[in-house]
Symmetry: D2
Subunit: 339 residues, 4 copies
């Protein structure tokens, strides 16, 4: 294999920091040669911590730096499409956090540019790399439960985001459920063809005032006729609730939530087990590392990344379908969105 892949981190916020640390400490096949963030002090802090040689307040500078072969787009959602296009045109491989964009036309434009440029594009659906969910997929695809017939995804955040975030995030379906849509496609190994959303504002009226919902039951129909359901809530006071279960003709497979330890206390009031890990930074630590390792491998070995542009597009399509189902009060076929 060639020498370590030189990458630039575009965006030194929470997730940019995670990826940068992962590369420096855990991925010998890559090295971080630059970090850019308009909040230059954030970029400097990360560079200082990790000995990153180049710091900039302009992501374009790093995209065009000759020594950079790949970029990780970790900036705010509204910048994703522009940066991916710019990087593709510059011949740089791209890892991009979800979503590519909130608009389908824009996504299609991005995908065209990427294809034309012949660079690799990988989308940041980290949960596919979680050991539990990866194992569920392996078991399902390996036939451990026969033909998969019914999927359930329980996905609940510990607490709702601020209402101002809701406004810019594209709403629950494009911000939170988008992960579950990707998980549904990943675990079942096929496309969703129809969905119905029953949604409500139960957690925080401010979310409703911002035009969004915070609770939903989304029914899914897959291409081969199998069914599914996603349960979403913006609040689970007991911690981040992330479970997948698949019923098949020959069995059932599913995961449990993970806790920081496995110590049980029994006292006169009951048996008490620890809460699930509180949120994604703890729950998906291993997944983030495996995800970036997969991107680096794909680029170095010149093979298709495991989560590509089509996956990024379809998750947004399903998010848009979920919104439309709420607006129309009826099931929506996926081809109504993509037509």
């Amino acid at each position: 294999m060639s020498a370590a892949l030189p990458v630039a981190i575009l965006g030194a916020g929470r997730i940019g920091q995670v990826h940068a640390r992962t590369i420096v400490h855990r991925i010998p096949g890559a090295r971080v040669v630059g970090v850019a963030d308009p909040r230059i002090e954030a970029a400097h802090a990360l560079a200082g911590e990790l000995d990153i040689p180049v710091v900039s307040d302009d992501p374009l500078q790093l995209i065009h730096a000759p020594e950079v072969q790949a970029v990780l787009v970790c900036s705010s959602t509204n910048t994703h499409a522009d940066l991916v296009i710019e990087a593709a045109r510059a011949g740089k491989h791209v890892f991009c956090e979800k979503p590519l964009d909130l608009g389908l036309d824009r996504i299609d434009a991005v995908l065209s540019e990427v294809q034309a440029a012949g660079v690799q594009l990988m989308l940041g659906f980290n949960r596919r790399f979680d050991p539990d969910f990866a194992r569920v997929r392996t078991l399902v695809s390996g036939g451990a439960i026969g033909r998969p017939e019914m999927l359930r995804i329980t996905s609940r955040d510990p607490s709702p985001p601020p209402a101002e975030y809701v406004a810019v995030s594209g709403g629950m379906f494009l911000d939170m459920t988008i992960h579950d849509f990707d998980m549904a496609r990943f675990v079942m190994g096929q496309e969703v063809v129809e969905l119905h959303t029953m949604a409500a504002v139960l957690v925080d009226p401010a979310i409703g005032a911002a035009g969004d919902v915070d609770s939903a039951v989304i029914s899914l129909r897959f291409a081969d006729g199998a069914l599914g359901v996603i349960e979403n809530s913006r609040r689970a006071v007991y911690g981040y609730d992330q479970r997948v279960e698949v019923l098949g003709s020959e069995g059932r497979v599913g995961n449990r939530n993970q806790a920081a330890d496995s110590v049980q206390v029994a006292d006169a009031n009951g048996l008490h087990d620890p809460l699930p890990l509180d949120f994604f930074m703890q729950r998906y630590t291993a997944a983030y590392a495996a995800e970036i390792a997969a991107f680096v491998d794909a680029v170095r070995l010149e093979r298709e990344p495991p989560v590509g542009g089509h996956d990024g597009r379809m998750a947004v399509v399903l998010g848009l379908a979920a919104k439309r189902s709420v607006e129309l009060g009826r099931p929506v076929r996926v081809d109504e969105i993509t037509a």
Copy 2:
């Protein structure tokens, strides 16, 4: 309290036998004075086993027997309405297996007769008396999880019924899901106002050929805005899967399936735990006993039975709504059915 309540068992099939044995062996407050079944040998067998004095091939004979104060209607569904009306007119209290009838008009006629007669009517929604589900309800109503926001019922039979049964049963929604609809109303303590059904034939094409479905995801909206979902399948090769989970503003509550024992084997291939109890006769043994005890208590203490005619009616209403949602391919408001 008065002397033991004299009851007659109408129908000596599987469930009639269960109730008869329960009364004889476990409920000192009642005694079985007669059993009727058109298959007279079934009635004789049960009477022989339990020392029941009167045996008949005609349920009407027992309904009108002066010593009988209450009847348990355990015959086939298509006889329920007639027998309940006959018993009500005769001034006898009635315990009736679900459903009262497959038609709403007929159910309304039954309820009118019962009300006019002033007798007690209890419906056989046994699962309310299961220790697990009763505990879930107690915790929800007691505020253990704050305001209930999202209900999930996983309800899967171990294996599909014969296609000929499907034809006379009224279909999955009125035969199987009816229990889940009652559970939804019971656990949440309120009415469902809207539902959407996404259904499929995934288990047995013969069920489809008989005009029914065998798999469904049913989204629910409750009167106070809370959401819910019922997952149904006619097949779970690992046993009878009966789980309820409620998410609330302050927590989550749910049960596990029950097994015949709790012995785990660990070997070089994994940790192996026993399967869930195979079907309702094993799973709901305690529930059947508690249910009949509750009926006997209600009659003897002249108080409202815990599951009444309205409950029987609403479960059928929801079953009809689920069917209509499939036919129309859209959500259905409950008042569309009852209007």
Copy 3:
């Protein structure tokens, strides 16, 4: 098979009531024809509840009643030996609660009389009939874990008995651990040849003042070289703790404690599961019924009862060895007791 076996209950206390109700309600192969207790009002109460025809304050009267074919000795420990001998001489089959006696000579005398009389004697080691422990034994003897190498029995009462009971009970090893000694022999299918006891008074100083201990770790060596350990405590505030685990050359098998329901609550403080069943009357309900059924079957089918006089003797031998190990402060070989 012959007509229902007519039995008499000797002792109308807690366990006598359990057995009488079991026979009346659950065992068609037997009927209770008499109950005796020096506290005659206890005998009358039980007879009234269950329609038992003969009531006496003298167990001998029932032993010698011609219609009685078997007796259940449910009286206090110090009467066991006399009653069993009397019954054997009268040609009556005997079910006797543990222990047969606290003295080995007396036990040997009893066994001689029983053998001479040719009657059946079954000892009340109810735990062998618990579905969990029966399953553990079946798995071990069936080779599910290969060769059994190490046994662990965790046996903790919810709360200590009154000190006055301790005095008459023969002490913890002959009153409480005796069940664990029997379980050890049952699960491993072989004899213990050596044991060492490390004991203490940690729960209640009054137990120490009465000359007994309330906590112990008892190491076991079996005939084929396998090892074992019994952990005893007279107090577990979280409920009756009854677990068995066996390590073998090819795996491990063990049970979990049982609770009244399986409902978990998750809130901001943790995941909370229900406590184990509080004590033996709840924990071993099914075991008591299966035990008596096994006795009745053995008598009616004229076959060896599954727990016989030798088992009753060996459990006492091990209890005496445990005591001697404490007194001598060293391991004790079983043949030191029996020699």
Copy 4:
């Protein structure tokens, strides 16, 4: 705090590699300035992987290198004492893998030298830093279960070591159980005063031929009167079995084994969960990292390391007592060893 602590790794075998990688990738407060191993190619390989500047086949060279402030003794057991003494005399702080030595006199000599030199000495009892066991200790010391009364440690290796290793390791009690002895002292927060060992060769006759045992039940008595038991086996085909349970006056606390994922498959044969992690390198990954971080913190902050020379000595004392108990066939008081 001062600049990063410069350390040398003495021994580039399995555990030396683990510690070196931990420091390089996870502990900014330290840096590895040298690695020594008589197998020079092992030292070179590790240095190459981690950019370690100095490589030697002689640990003394690194101990005396002026830039080295602390050493990690990761070499074979028979070199531990010499290296610790040499380092102490050179004024270097020492982290030493267990055991310090197999002989008590030699250990005492080492501790004298360390004390005279005034350097820090930490012993590698990694399990104290495992999140589960650390949590058990925290709960016990915080009073969550009241007064601790009975400890149980289940400690089973997945498979036995080669017989030749057994010969040089000091035997099971000083090689394997030594960790459990330290855990017992750690969890209970007090000393063991007496123990009794019942041991056997059940797993591999070659171990017996080498003069060792492979299975044991070790009863413990603590200074305050509490009891305990350690169950050891050199073979658990289902994986590394590492569990601790403490019974107290107000409850019970214990951990579960950890698996690589939490995915359960239910099929027609049962519910199947993944095996425990296979061995210490996987099971104790987090513990090793936390352990080294604690050592580095202790040195930099000039405070007592959390596991010191006394702890290292006492674990060996208990190992020797366990051996003597087997030899003498009786309980052994700890003061018999230390006197």
